[in-house]
Symmetry: C2
Subunit: 387 residues, 2 copies
């Protein structure tokens, strides 16, 4: 682990492969005392000495190692997978339930045994599947958001058509577009989907429209099927607003089959406090991906948010970390990518990236900007394009 606790090696390999392994960075308090508290708090929440022996041995977490200084170090804990059972929400509870109420404890590593990984679908398409769907075998993908809020559905659809016609692969709703009166959800989804379809057909290259799906849990699957029936090519989900399990429910629906973009709005407090919460990559990369996000959006270093390049690298690495049976997801830096710095951004992330460019496309002519962006990315991928 680096000194700021944002990146970390995987837990020691001597651990039993069938246990859930969690590592926390602990600062300013007695690390061993916190470790003892966590292993009980996250399981039995009961006076340890009063619990039956088998519960103390099997249910309570096991301290695998404690490293660092007595008041500034890390602890690695492991749990029997039956403590989670078959419920995805209980995994979150074991990893980050009551311990989320502790100050100065940060989740820095998480390793799921195969028996728990199986609870999660992972990305339905991921990097290889989305490349095939978009007929983009080797280049970075381009995404943008329909905005600003307040624009009528017909105007958003016109914008969507221009963006698709000029080579933007993924045209998504801004995450704040829901069912407002200026652009009611049904009308917006139908019009934008049709505009993207028509533009794609004319251009002879596929683009997808992804409406925002910030609806209550009980409506989630119905709305997703409705979006697909209206022509949506994917879905935008904001787990910080509707829960990470919403991604899993959508990715796990056998009849839906739409790629999912995960947006970080509302999830910030889970990562931005350096001594508390989750390592950025674990929440915005690994956890979203395991639930089923094909594309994981995060604020790009140098944009409107104070994410460092180290943090962005961490998220991208967790989108790509090899995991048995789980495809790689696309890291999607956004939140203020400048057109004039596209080459720098591509140099950082490489080919397997979705560049989410928003407001910058609207400074000047939208069609021209989108077309030039697409051309630049194609040239970067294969310099022969420019000849």
């Amino acid at each position: 682990m680096t000194s700021d606790g944002t990146a970390g090696a995987r837990p020691p390999s001597r651990l039993s492969p069938d246990r859930l392994v969690v590592r926390y960075r602990v600062r300013g308090v007695d690390v061993r005392q916190v470790a003892e508290a966590i292993r009980v708090e996250q399981t039995i929440e009961f006076p340890y000495e009063l619990a039956p022996a088998w519960i103390r041995e099997t249910i309570v977490g096991r301290i695998e190692s404690i490293d660092g200084d007595p008041d500034d170090g890390s602890v690695t804990l492991s749990y029997h997978p039956d403590v989670v059972g078959q419920e995805p929400a209980q995994l979150l509870n074991v990893v980050w339930g009551n311990v989320s109420l502790f100050e100065n404890v940060r989740l820095v590593d998480l390793s799921l045994p195969d028996s728990l990984l199986r609870l999660f679908p992972g990305p339905r398409l991921g990097v290889p599947g989305l490349r095939a769907l978009l007929r983009a075998p080797d280049r970075p993908l381009l995404a943008t958001a329909l905005k600003p809020m307040g624009t009528a559905a017909a105007d958003l659809a016109r914008m969507a058509g221009i963006l698709a016609a000029n080579g933007i692969d993924l045209v998504k709703d801004d995450q704040g577009l829901t069912d407002q009166r200026w652009a009611p959800w049904d009308e917006r989804v139908a019009r934008c989907a049709e505009a993207v379809r028509a533009a794609s057909e004319r251009a002879g290259r596929p683009s997808l429209y992804l409406p925002a799906l910030n609806f209550p849990g009980p409506q989630l699957l119905d709305r997703a099927h409705r979006a697909r029936d209206l022509g949506a090519g994917g879905l935008l989900v904001v787990p910080g607003l509707v829960g990470y399990d919403a991604i899993r429910a959508l990715a796990g629906d056998p009849d839906l089959g739409l790629p999912i973009m995960a947006h970080p709005a509302g999830a910030g407090s889970g990562v931005v406090n350096p001594a508390q919460g989750w390592r950025h990559g674990l929440l915005l990369g690994l956890f979203a991906r395991v639930q089923g996000a094909d594309v994981c959006i995060f604020p790009h270093a140098g944009g409107r948010f104070a994410f460092s390049q180290q943090v962005c690298d961490d998220i991208a690495a967790e989108c790509r970390r090899p995991l048995p049976g789980i495809a790689a997801a696309w890291p999607a830096p956004g939140g203020g990518i400048a057109l004039e710095r596209i080459d720098d951004t591509l140099a950082v992330y490489g080919r397997d990236v979705v560049l989410l460019v928003g407001g910058a496309l609207h400074r000047g002519d939208l069609a021209t900007n989108a077309g030039q962006l697409r051309a630049r990315v194609e040239e970067w991928t294969d310099p022969a394009h420019s000849e």
Copy 2:
């Protein structure tokens, strides 16, 4: 607002009553610059100068006031309610969407206009309704959790019966009990509900059993109805695991009619970082209550978690703050309440409190401890009981 930003006066009354009003504490950065960023980031997320005039005026947030020092102050913003529209998740997005990714910004006040309050059911029973249901016109209520995890369903049911027989009003699952093999959900709910029903009948005073309901959103309502059919008298929901909207969906179900306890597991990063997140009372008190929580659990000062008494007072105050059409909720301090300090705890919270006593009941004889706790609370409420 006090110097630490945890408590705050309500926004100035000169504000239009039909606008959503939000106040943030901002530290270590230029408050005005952050205010300008937030009002755009939370709405159009688009270059301000490129937006049409009516969108700048109607959709973008309005800065109502900026107070304090240039780099350590607070900003009050207001929004047109149509920016939220009719979707509860979009309220969360406007209040705490992209701004959640900002360091050093804390949500310290939130005021919903009537048009947005109407999106939320509030507590179905709240303080008056739960008093009527439990035939407890004036005393504090008692709650406990079935634990430890690993205990078989039959043994948990035996425990539940003892607790109900000895005067515990609300017998809930520990939040980590889900569908594990030691006590499968259906079996546990059926057995515990029956044990509590039988014990209540024998004792001639009502107690309720509240199973944990940490299921995926699409299953939520079905599982809740199943719990009621199995005899559950209420529901335990953990919004930090399944989303705050789960409470609203359950409280708003017209056929369910069960009281809801909200547990803070998983929600900690939203409140425990002093310069970021939400003021404790707003998230764990007001927001949970507006969604429909009848009882809001939080860690008691002096227990296993580092919550100060000031923070606990804030949560209790937000459970009780007068709101049009929204009943008061019960504050429920827990997480390490000691039996020998019950009088101190009652002195702090008064009569309208649910005391959530867990592990302490198990030190010694469970029936004796529960009975003595009930007797002590009755004596405290009406000293004539002890004569």
